[in-house]
């Protein structure tokens, strides 16, 4: 038997954008391989049928109450049960906080080779090849598998969802999961949202990042406003995180988050290699810096040389007008 199984991540019943991307890529890969595709939803209250829009015809739904909160062991048991049930030999999921925590457990239990945080998948003479950034994006590794089963996590925002199928509800099949005695020993006591329930830089479609050029922490209000107009998130260089101006979770770069938004706007950031390692996968990069020789311009699609304190407010106003906000 062969097949592709995508675990579609949800929290509180809401599927993540990364889940839709993994379902769409799973469908594409299954079609290329000529094998069946199955999606898996874990936890109660998911609208499993809605994954049809992203290409799933069949969704296994492990909806039992014990699976409401994420735990890597119970969820690994559920994914393995779905693999056995569907006969899939390729397992995909998003390389999110959950996916990166879960995939290794699943791979270990399946005796599968694992490729994490991949940016492309292809078949080479029928064999799966996964492409993933290594050395913090300074090189790409093409990974082949020596195991019959394969587990792959997909970098969020890279694969996208190319088209939606209309009126395409998937068939939902309940999947009962027999949890073991160890499965619920790690207990999630609470999920604490960051102040203001803000969007995470790694999930945002638009990231507005600021560096030391912003001069003071208060001046980030300007970036918050621009990000709000664009429906994006604020990111930061390490210099301003280390200075305590911005929280750790906003740091973009080699020792921060790797982001691949559609638009990345770097404001008052010089473009040190460690920063570039986190954002060169962005589709369109805009740099605003008063130093025309700043290295950030060497990776920027569009550069504006000048003072952030003049350009950012003007840009916010121009976007408001262009987007009618």
């Amino acid at each position: 038997m062969a097949g592709v199984l995508t675990f579609a991540e949800s929290r509180d019943g809401q599927f993540k954008k990364a889940a839709f991307e993994a379902v769409a890529e799973g469908r594409r890969l299954a079609d290329e391989m000529g094998v069946p595709f199955t999606a898996l939803a874990i936890g109660p209250d998911t609208d499993a049928a809605s994954l049809g829009a992203y290409g799933a015809d069949r969704v296994l739904s492990a909806g039992q109450a014990e699976l409401k909160a994420y735990s890597n062991e119970s969820y690994a048991t559920a994914v393995v049960a779905a693999v056995e049930h569907s006969g899939a030999d390729v397992v995909l999921m998003g390389a999110t906080a959950m996916g990166k925590d879960l995939a290794p457990r699943v791979a270990a239990r399946l005796g599968a080779g694992l490729a994490a945080d991949c940016t492309a998948l292809r078949l080479d003479g029928g064999s799966l090849v996964a492409v993933r950034p290594v050395y913090s994006g300074k090189a790409l590794a093409e990974i082949g598998f020596k195991t019959p089963r394969k587990v792959v996590t997909l970098r969020p925002n890279v694969f996208g969802v190319k088209s939606l199928r209309e009126n395409a509800d998937a068939t939902v099949e309940p999947l009962a999961v027999a949890l073991g005695s160890n499965d619920l020993r790690a207990v999630v006591e609470a999920v604490v949202a960051a102040a203001g329930g803000k969007l995470d830089v790694s999930e945002a479609d638009i990231v507005v990042s600021g560096g030391r050029g912003l001069k003071t922490p208060e001046n980030f209000a300007m970036l918050e406003e621009l990000a709000a107009v664009l429906g994006g998130a604020v990111g930061a260089s390490r210099a301003v995180v280390d200075a305590g101006w911005r929280p750790h979770e906003e740091q973009v770069g080699q020792t921060g988050k790797v982001v691949s938004p559609t638009i990345y706007i770097a404001c008052g950031i010089s473009g040190a290699v460690q920063h570039l390692a986190g954002m060169t996968g962005s589709k369109v990069i805009i740099a605003i810096n008063k130093d025309a020789d700043a290295p950030i311009f060497s990776v920027a699609d569009y550069g504006l040389v000048g003072d952030v304190f003049e350009i950012v407010p003007a840009l916010t106003a121009a976007f408001k007008k262009a987007l009618n906000r």
């Binding site: 735990s71 890597n72 906080a97 990166k100 925590d101 290794p104 457990r105 791979a107 270990a108 005796g111 599968a112 694992l114 490729a115 994490a116 945080d117 993933r132 950034p133 290594v134 050395y135 913090s136 090189a139 790409l140 590794a141 093409e142 990974i143 082949g144 598998f145 020596k146 160890n182 020993r185 790690a186 207990v187 999630v188 006591e189 609470a190 604490v192 949202a193 960051a194 329930g197 995470d200 790694s202 999930e203 750790h248 740091q251 080699q254 020792t255 638009i263 290699v273 060169t280 369109v284 990069i285 990776v299 920027a300 699609d301 569009y302 550069g303 504006l304 840009l315 121009a318 262009a322």
Partner: protein, 248 residues
Amino acid sequence: MNLVCCITQVPDTAARIKLAADGKAIETSDVNFVLNPYDEFAVEEALRLRDQNPGSTVTIVTVGDESVTSTLRKTLAMGADKAVRVNAAGVGPFDAAQIAAALVAAIGKLGPLDLVLFGKESTAANDGQVGPLVAEGLGLPSASVVVKLTVADGKATVEREIEGGVERVTLPLPAVVTAQKGLNEPRLPSVKGIMMSKSKPVTTEDAAPGEPRIELIRLTRPAAKSGGRKLGSVDELIAALRDEAKVI
């Protein structure tokens, strides 16, 4: 507490990465290797726990060739008690499962464990997979990308970073955690620490990595992002985003 900390060395973050002629590795001759930045947080946390819990030991374990010895010495200079180097012969490049198997075998010889600490990911492999793989191999609960850790009454309470917030998780010990920036401020080795590290034991053993699970077909260079254009005004930028890049 029996605290074990797994570390690896990586090219320093400013290193230029050149591919070797066979495309299967990087040129290491000009590269300065350092302790993986996230592993610094793991070592620091292990040292803090040891100091809060008298009678504890911190053992550093790594899978690597002889070149990793100076990095091991750094962790001993920071204050770790002893180190084990598992010879990497037979471990394929980026094969997290093989590294994990070798670590599981080596850690298994260290007696009853309390906590095994890892970095969130290596900045070379960018996998973030070795820690949870070892947890599964040792049959232990785990939490990855941890920014806060407290140990009391045989339990670890952690905060792990998730998109847009943190998840507070309680794990019975022994357990595995992987460290993220924010967990602590790693110390620098002191002169005294460096002196004392010289007499600390570093033992070497052979790996039991098992069969390879993946194969590195080749390394390639990412398509260079060529610098684009400098524009004269905000309005030109809006027009370019709309008409050329078509992203708004």
